[in-house]
């Protein structure tokens, strides 16, 4: 009963579209007000908590605002300063891109491969291993243990082991020597990010119909690699897209790990990312307008990156 009504409505909708082209919005709302009513709770929330802040940030980025006094309009000054005068910002963009380019794809493929391996395990072991790999993202601030591993003390774990092995003689300041900071943060970030996308891959693997493999077998698939590339991979497309977006977003918004391991700012801004730059201006210097300008730029970069992934993936899946 319910189903048929739904179908009827769809039918009506498509009919109107075909007949008149676009109908005026208010008429559409008046006609399907129940639908709008039902999406309203979410849409209102979305508008207040997501759209409005973004708009506010865009507006505030043209102001000088220290959070206590009334904002003053300063036009494009924030953007000028950001691009022309702020060398640290350029450094943070560089770092963020390095993150996105290295840790994003790295953890993406790592997730895929590990999920593939784990999928081959017997059931109970698989459940257990899934938990093990998902644990870092479950307990979100567990990366503090890396602080002990990478402690600059000569008795710190990694320093201690390397000294024992005779590789180093003096403790390395992993978290404050700028030659190491970025690498350390990347390692931890990759470790951390084996989370959501990993789970979605596991789910994707589980969702593939077994009979397809049998069919492939009949059609002459020779080994597991062919099986993976010709059957599994194409069928995983939705998960791949989802994970790619998640990974990109998370690599662009790396901040907590870097901040708690290397401090804010890290030595000579060596592990400074765009989000940290926002924190620096927003929370330390109380220059909200400027921080908003940075976040607007980050927003644009992310939009662009998403578009890029779409193009890439459609290219991959089309061939």
């Amino acid at each position: 009963m319910r189903k048929s009504r739904g179908n009827a409505r769809n039918l009506v909708l498509s009919k109107e579209y075909t007949k008149k082209g676009k109908i005026p919005y208010h008429k559409d709302i008046a006609k399907h007000w129940q639908l709008y009513l039902m999406t309203a709770p979410y849409m209102i929330g979305f508008f207040i908590f997501t759209v409005l802040p973004i708009l506010a940030a865009v507006v505030l980025s043209f102001f000088y605002y220290n959070m206590l006094e009334t904002p003053t309009f300063i036009g494009f000054n924030n953007y000028f300063n950001l691009i022309v005068a702020d060398t640290v910002f350029l450094k943070s963009i560089k770092n963020t891109l390095v993150f996105a380019i290295i840790t994003g794809p790295l953890s993406y493929f790592l997730c895929l491969i590990i999920a593939w391996f784990i999928n081959e395990l017997p059931r109970y072991l698989r459940v257990f291993m899934t938990l093990v790999f998902y644990a870092p993202s479950l307990s979100s601030s567990v990366y503090f243990i890396w602080q002990y591993l990478f402690s600059g003390d000569s008795y710190g774990f990694i320093n201690g082991i390397l000294t024992k092995m005779g590789i180093i003689y003096e403790p390395i300041q992993w978290l404050s020597d700028e030659s190491y900071t970025l690498a350390v943060v990347m390692i931890v970030q990759v470790w951390m990010s084996l989370g959501t996308s990993f789970l979605s891959f596991i789910a994707g693997f589980q969702g593939i119909d077994k009979s397809l493999y049998e069919a492939g077998d009949v059609d002459g698939i020779k080994n597991r690699y062919q099986e993976f590339f010709y059957i599994t991979f194409p069928l995983l497309k939705p998960q791949l897209l989802f994970s790619a977006v998640m990974q990109i977003v998370s690599s662009f918004s790396v901040s907590a790990v870097s901040q708690s391991l290397c401090g804010l700012p890290s030595t000579n801004y060596s592990a400074h990312t765009i989000v940290l730059h926002i924190t620096d201006y927003g929370n330390i210097r109380y220059e909200m307008g400027y921080a908003c300008a940075i976040s607007v730029i980050l927003f644009l970069i992310m939009l662009g990156a998403r578009k890029l992934i779409d193009i890439l993936l459609s290219y991959v899946s089309d061939t």
Partner: protein
């Protein structure tokens, strides 16, 4: 080669002689009283233990008669002892008032026969700095054992008005006040190495007893040489008082309603683990228990009063919880009217369990034992901490630990902290007594292990720690060439054994009530049944939704109500709340809405709900907020000058901007220098007073393969705003002592281009480049182990070392940081400080609360409030949580002893606080960058500092333009 050996021998002999001579000269016959320095040296001697003394004296008879010595019958007093003989004081005759907290007084005593005596002092404490009164007792020419060189006489306390309720119906503790009265106490071990009073052996004839006073003023009544106590058996006790009769009468005495207590910090607390707790409430805070981990140390006691309806026998039933020491019992001694009634009351053990338990005095067979009480008068019941049967073992383990630590350090001086595992050190040849000592220690440890196992009755918690060390030692003995690679483990094992022995001494016990009743009277139930406890959890869970935990009191009855935010934990906020209810509101009739927040003031402003006052905010915040017009300038308010005088003179500098003051300091912390006296003595070093001396000492220590700790804290986000420049590293000390400064006069730029600054920066970076000091290290553990015998650390580190490093107690000292010799010959010990502050917000003006808020702020930073706050927080969190209060008078009231206090004051007086400039966070940040550029990237120091200075100046300039200061 032979020449070399001869040389080495010669050097060794010289070293030995020079070290031994002063020691020998001290321990030789001594006619004059010891000086304070000599006493200090004597206290370093850990080998002269009580156990050793008893073994040496052997089996001798106990005295049969007591000898009383009146305090004013002394025959000599040292020059530094200010003594006034009083005919009578508060009911006691022939006493002396000893004000100087120093010096010694000598008595002569004629002993009738060779015998052992215990020594009892009657004394009347005088309000000093609130510490225990430390005294020493010399017999004839020397101290029989180290424990007698210094032991304590405690003060007594109780809460002024018991437990009261605030307007919201929650309980709070009232002030703990000292009770002044005549007290009696035996000379007894402070550390719990022996439960019974110390014995001294005196031969027939004349002897001299010399009493030393070290830290506190007091009135000495008399000194009694007593017959060592022998308690009667229960059988004798019953024979003495007659037939036991049953009865119905019973009375509950809440344990938190004490009559007297030995410690200021033993206060009532809350326990919700059972509805049978008395009293109990789901939603309100009720203070229903006392003790727990604050009642852990030997000698601490609580006392209650009881009155009974008729003469006769009474059962004393305790409801307690001992969930602290897994598998082990803890112990108490019961005293009725100050006396142990019978043998069995001398040591009562409280077994381990996770739930509440009930217990009466009982013998081994489980038969209840009764005490005889008379009607018509008040009796006191006292429970005193005793270590119990393990105390001998603990003492032995402690002396083994000292021995092994010595061995470890000797090895370390040869191998260094990072031994080369491919090299043969021949340690067993270099240190001839290495193997014999290890063998002896292993044997001793095995013996102690058997011992403890027998006493406890199981080896569950004992085996690993002792045995692991024993295996470790056995391995070392078996193949001495592997010793260097085993040293790390060795030191770790010693450390864990020592802390285990310390824990073993702790005797925590949580007490709910005492039930005094006639034999076989009915007693209250102890625990909820199974369903009862489930119901309790369910109910508590649902009540948790309707209880507002962030709000404390209901202030609707007051006209003036101010809002105060506290940026701290719940424990601290609870203390503040109790203080407000107890002291502030009754006195000023101003209600206080106290809220725990960790939200920033900025957020409060944005949401339009800014408080009037925010307590304990980071030091960089006030200026930052003031720049944006969020804070109220308190310098124009009346009484400000008086408030200023409560603090160190420069402590308002970081909170001052253009002449206006925006905050009152809460805490002030600074660096002190810690050094190991024993290692310094071994290396013949003296504690450095200036940096020049410091570098020399550092070289000696490093050439002996040990390290020196110079602090360096990396900047992080909140840190760079909140802690300011002060105590992040020693650069500020070096710079300020050289006469340099961070900013120019109007704070419009840094002043780091000066010769002094470049020089100071060069020195600072040299420490880590040329002198190879480590940037990151764990001071507490390395100082304990002895491989970092010298270091600078925040003075609060003292608390941790004194509370949690028993094996080095008395072996280290805290003194002011090194200074720089000035042209006029004085030494400047300047350094920057750190700490938090309290602010009044501009919102107070909008609320019309400036007057009340200012009253609150004045009260909060007063000596009275700060003392109370510091003591109460210490009571909750232990010594480790001691507050670094910025109020000078309050600081004096905390338990610092005379010498520490003097050292701390010297260092404190020298502090030159560093101003906070607009954009000053960039200085911390870029100074760090400059430092790291030099240390990691080997950049030229001068060049690095100057280039980073430009970046700081640019940011300061930018900020000044932003705020229209240019």
């Amino acid at each position: 080669m032979r020449f070399k050996k001869l040389m080495a021998l010669a050097v060794a002999i010289i070293v030995l002689v020079t070290v031994m001579v002063p020691i020998c000269s001290v321990s030789a016959a001594h006619k004059e009283p010891y000086t304070a320095e000599e006493i200090d040296l004597l206290l370093l001697d850990k080998s002269n233990t009580y156990q050793k003394y008893l073994a040496e004296v052997g089996d001798k008879p106990l005295a049969t008669d007591s000898i009383i010595i009146k305090a004013d019958k002394y025959y000599a007093a040292s020059d530094d002892a200010k003594i006034e003989a009083l005919d009578s004081y508060e009911g006691k005759d022939n006493v002396i008032k000893w004000d100087s907290a120093a010096g010694s007084v000598s008595y002569e005593v004629d002993v009738p026969a060779d015998a052992f005596y215990s020594v009892k002092f009657s004394y009347y404490p005088i309000a000093g700095s609130g510490n225990k009164i430390n005294i020493g007792l010399q017999v004839d020419d020397g101290f029989p054992y180290t424990d007698l060189t210094s032991f304590s006489l405690n003060r007594t306390y109780n809460s002024s008005e018991g437990i009261k309720q605030d307007t919201a119906g929650n309980d709070y503790n009232t002030t703990q006040v000292e009770l002044f009265d005549w007290n009696e106490k035996f000379a007894v071990s402070d550390s719990g190495v022996s439960d019974q009073p110390f014995l001294i052996y005196l031969t027939k004839g004349k002897h001299s007893l010399v009493v030393y006073s070290f830290n506190e003023p007091f009135i000495l009544g008399d000194i009694t040489l007593c017959t060592p106590a022998k308690h009667m058996t229960y059988k004798e006790y019953v024979a003495k008082y007659g037939q036991i009769k049953d009865g119905e009468w019973g009375q509950k005495i809440e344990a938190e309603d004490t009559f007297k207590k030995s410690e200021q910090n033993m206060v009532a607390s809350t326990d919700r683990t059972s509805t049978k707790n008395s009293p109990f409430n789901y939603t309100k805070t009720v203070l229903n228990v006392i003790g727990g981990s604050t009642w852990s140390y030997a000698g601490q006691w609580l006392e209650w009063e009881v009155e009974v309806p008729e003469d006769g026998y009474y059962e004393i039933f305790l409801r307690f919880k001992q969930s602290y020491k897994s598998g082990l019992p803890t112990h108490r001694r019961l005293l009725i009217d100050g006396e142990v009634p019978f043998e069995e009351a001398d040591l009562i053990s409280f077994g381990f369990s996770n739930s509440w338990q009930g217990k009466s005095l009982a013998n081994d067979k489980g038969e209840t034992l009764y005490v005889y009480l008379t009607a018509g008068e008040k009796h006191t019941i006292r429970l005193e901490n005793v270590v119990g049967a393990l105390s001998d073992s603990i003492a032995n383990i402690n002396s083994i630990v000292v021995e092994l630590n010595n061995i470890y350090r000797q090895c370390l001086m040869i191998t260094g902290t990072d031994p080369d595992i491919y090299r043969d050190y021949y340690l067993h040849q270099e240190i001839p007594d290495l193997i014999p000592t290890l063998e002896a220690s292993a044997k001793e440890l095995t013996k102690e292990y058997e011992n403890i196992k027998e006493i406890i009755g199981s080896d569950r918690d004992v085996s690993d720690i002792i045995n692991v060390l024993v295996y470790n030692i056995e391995d070392m003995i078996e193949s001495p060439s592997t010793i260097p690679s085993r040293l790390d483990t060795f030191s770790g094992n010693i450390g864990s054994l020592s802390s285990w022995a310390l824990e073993l001494k702790d005797q925590p016990l949580l007490l709910d009530y005492l039930y005094v009743c006639q034999p076989n009277a009915e007693k209250p139930a102890i625990n909820d049944n199974f369903f009862g406890s489930i119901w309790r959890e369910v109910k508590s869970f649902f009540y948790s939704f309707i209880t507002d935990y962030s709000n404390f009191a209901d202030n609707s009855t007051y006209d003036d109500v101010i809002t105060v935010w506290v940026n701290s934990g719940r424990d601290q906020a609870n203390v503040i709340n109790a203080m407000i209810n107890d002291l502030f509101t009754p006195q000023y009739n101003i209600g206080v809405d106290l809220k725990i927040t960790n939200a920033s003031v900025i957020q409060a402003y944005l949401s339009g709900r800014a408080p009037d006052i925010s307590l304990m905010i980071g030091r960089g915040q006030p200026v930052n907020l003031a720049l944006r017009g969020a804070l109220y300038d308190i310098s124009k308010l009346d009484g400000f000058e008086e408030i200023k005088s409560r603090f160190q003179e420069t402590s308002f500098v970081p909170y001052t901007l253009n002449g206006a003051v925006y905050a009152v300091p809460d805490t002030q912390n600074f660096y002190m220098m810690f050094y190991r006296k024993d290692i310094f003595q071994e290396l013949e070093l003296t504690a450095p007073k200036t940096w020049d001396e410091f570098w020399k000492v550092m070289k000696v220590i490093q050439s002996n393969n040990m390290e020196v700790g110079l602090p360096y804290t990396a900047v992080d986000a909140s840190g760079s705003v909140d802690n300011g420049m002060g105590s992040r590293n020693i650069f500020s000390a070096i710079l300020l002592q050289k006469g340099g400064r961070f900013y120019n006069d109007d704070l419009s730029a840094t002043d780091l281009g000066t010769a002094e600054a470049l020089d100071a920066f060069q020195i600072w970076t040299d420490i880590y480049t040329k002198m190879d000091s480590q940037v990151t290290y764990d001071f507490y553990n390395r100082f304990r182990a002895g491989n970092m015998p010298l270091g600078l650390a925040m003075y609060t580190e003292y608390n941790r070392l004194s509370a949690a490093a028993p094996e080095i107690a008395g072996l280290w000292e805290m003194i002011p940081i090194p200074g720089t010799m000035q042209e006029d010959g004085t030494i400047s010990r300047a350094q920057g400080g750190s700490g938090s502050a309290s602010v009044m917000l501009r919102a107070a003006e909008d609320h019309g609360n400036v007057e009340s808020a200012w009253t609150f702020l004045k009260w909060w930073c007063s000596a009275e409030a700060q003392t109370r706050y510091a003591l109460d927080v210490e009571a909750v969190l232990g010594v480790v949580g001691r507050v670094a209060t910025a109020n000078r008078d309050a600081f004096k009231n905390l338990s610092w002893n005379g010498k520490e206090y003097k050292n701390l004051m010297t260092a404190w007086d020298a502090i030159e606080e560093i101003p906070e400039a607009p954009g000053g966070y960039y200085l911390t940040r870029d100074l760090d960058n400059a430092f790291r550029d030099v240390v990691y990237n080997e950049r030229n120091a001068r060049e690095s500092l100057l280039s980073w200075k430009l970046s700081v100046d640019a940011e300061i300039q930018r900020k000044r333009e932003e705020f229209g200061l240019e």
